[in-house]
Symmetry: D3
Subunit: 137 residues, 6 copies
């Protein structure tokens, strides 16, 4: 087994705000992230797959093919988008990095052939990132 | 003369959209940045000052003091803010990195003592940054 | 399970020197790190916790709360400190990155609620880092 | 158990080209990497070992000793080399990052004492890296 | 005047070898870079332009337009290429980073409108980069 | 003219403490940096030289030769050293980054042939760096 990781990135906006809480409670829990006018990040997303290198090509997966899947399934949906307003999946659940990483797994996993999805890592700032390894871990 | 640079950072949202242009023209000129629902970035801001090191302290400026100025004059105004909606200076001019850098110069310059402001550098993504050296350059 | 990682940093000084060894043996084993006058590093520390995102907040842990724990339990103890002279825990054991990482685990672990500590990663230079996953791994 | 990671780097050239395929098929599968005149990368290699810190030294392994092993076993073989033409191990198998990582494991593993090899990570570009954890994983 | 910088990157191969010198002299002057089978790098190229922000757009130059120029004039010529064998401009002059930077200036400069080329910076490794500011500086 | 920059690094310890000031005044001015037991940093040092590329070699300076000068003149003097106690030049002047950069200029400048020293940049943390361009600038 070899693990291959590919990075892509996107710039998004979101706010962390729960509509059925008071503004005060939102600020207490989410701090500055509750600003009703949104804020944003340069997100880096790392997708790791695992498999045995193909004897002919030496590839676990063609990194260029993985890039195409990531651009189509992740970047087109999230780049220069407002997660709260533009992305249906985050209409009813918080668009935190945790939930975005889980959603990215769901978007990418069905499109991989010949290897398994191992990890989705989402870097929100140089100081915070999350990793999701699927339901079983 | 020695030049000292201090970095701080903030996360903001903006859109590049000119109200007196048609939506089509906005997309033509600004591309994805024209999304009406905003997008955002992790901005790094580097302020460079120049001066002669103080013979007692060896400092051009106390970097901790510079950090305090930057946090008060820049970060408090822009962090987790929507430049278009929350920052008065960008109500009527585009909140591009170019214009934000010029504005940061205006905010910081009056508060420096014993040294001169040399450069404001604003990093929008790992691929794009701007620098402003004041009106004379 | 989602894993969330938060970074903080501190600048420390230490020397690697075993008092009951001869100076020659210390230099043989620890090389330049045995300099009796100390040397130092900019340490980055990454704390990773794991848990299920809260259905309300979408958080495994509030990253701001984790930052406060890390600043209080790690940064206040180690920042601008001499590990050999200022930190009681390293009076009798070597303040190597390995031992510092284990000690950070002990300091942080009791303060986490609603999630588990998964990893302490300590980056000593761009070329060397250590990771500790607790006693069981 | 503590995990210690050491980085070294080297600059190599390679091409991805399968001699028993047509030029067209090579371009179809390997894209620009099939250029017959080669291209190259700045590779970063991270070797992670695991073990219990020595009670005397506080080391899982002396990072300087690990560096010497890596320079002798990896850097001398691959730095400023053409993998296809200069490295016997890649005469008959593709010099992809996957296969280079597996080979690095084989070169380094026999030379470690008092700790176990855990991972070889090879970073090909800022967007692509591979990890190999040995045959059992 | 505001300065805007855009980064692109490419992976190339080259060797530093002067045909009318003996192999021994080549190794003496160029060291490992003289390997006849080539070696390569991940090059980062930063192009800096200067100008006054457009009052309508707030742009010195549209960073997306600059990216297109850089991809067409630089990346298409150098990415996954062997400078010695594939790039006519380096048939008779050494493909050092110094000379590549000067050549990139010549390729990019004629295509800029409404702003001036200020600097071409070429990063060869994390430890070496060159900058060229045009003939007058 | 082309500018070439080479990076080296070293790990040092220092304290900012003025002996003829009271402990209280030292803490007031230097904050945590006044800790009598020292603290330390991973310093990156970038030396930039300028000149015309040699028509034969394409080099402003052989980067390997520049590295040797930097290792001998800078790294051997400062690496794993305590600036206050081990480096004669900082016995009587503060070992701030400003003063260290000026001193590095004095150490390196006499050893350059065929090119001019342009800048010494010293990076103390990811948030603070200084640059010195010689006495005339």
């Amino acid at each position: 087994m070899v693990y291959l990781t590919r990075r892509e990135y996107f710039n998004g906006a979101h706010k962390l705000y729960k509509a059925d809480w008071s503004p005060e409670k939102n600020v207490e829990v989410f701090g500055k992230c509750a600003n009703k006018h949104f804020h944003g990040h340069n997100f880096d997303v790392f997708v790791t797959v695992k498999g045995n290198p193909d004897p002919d090509t030496g590839f676990v997966i063609n990194a260029h093919a993985l890039s195409k899947i990531m651009k189509r399934e992740i970047v087109e949906r999230l780049d220069h988008k407002n997660f709260n307003l533009d992305v249906p999946e985050f209409k009813n659940i918080m668009g935190t990095s945790e939930n975005v990483a889980i959603q990215i797994w769901k978007w990418v996993e069905p499109h991989l052939e010949g290897c398994q999805l191992h990890c989705v890592k989402l870097v929100e700032t140089e100081n915070i990132y999350v990793e999701y390894f699927g339901e079983e871990k």
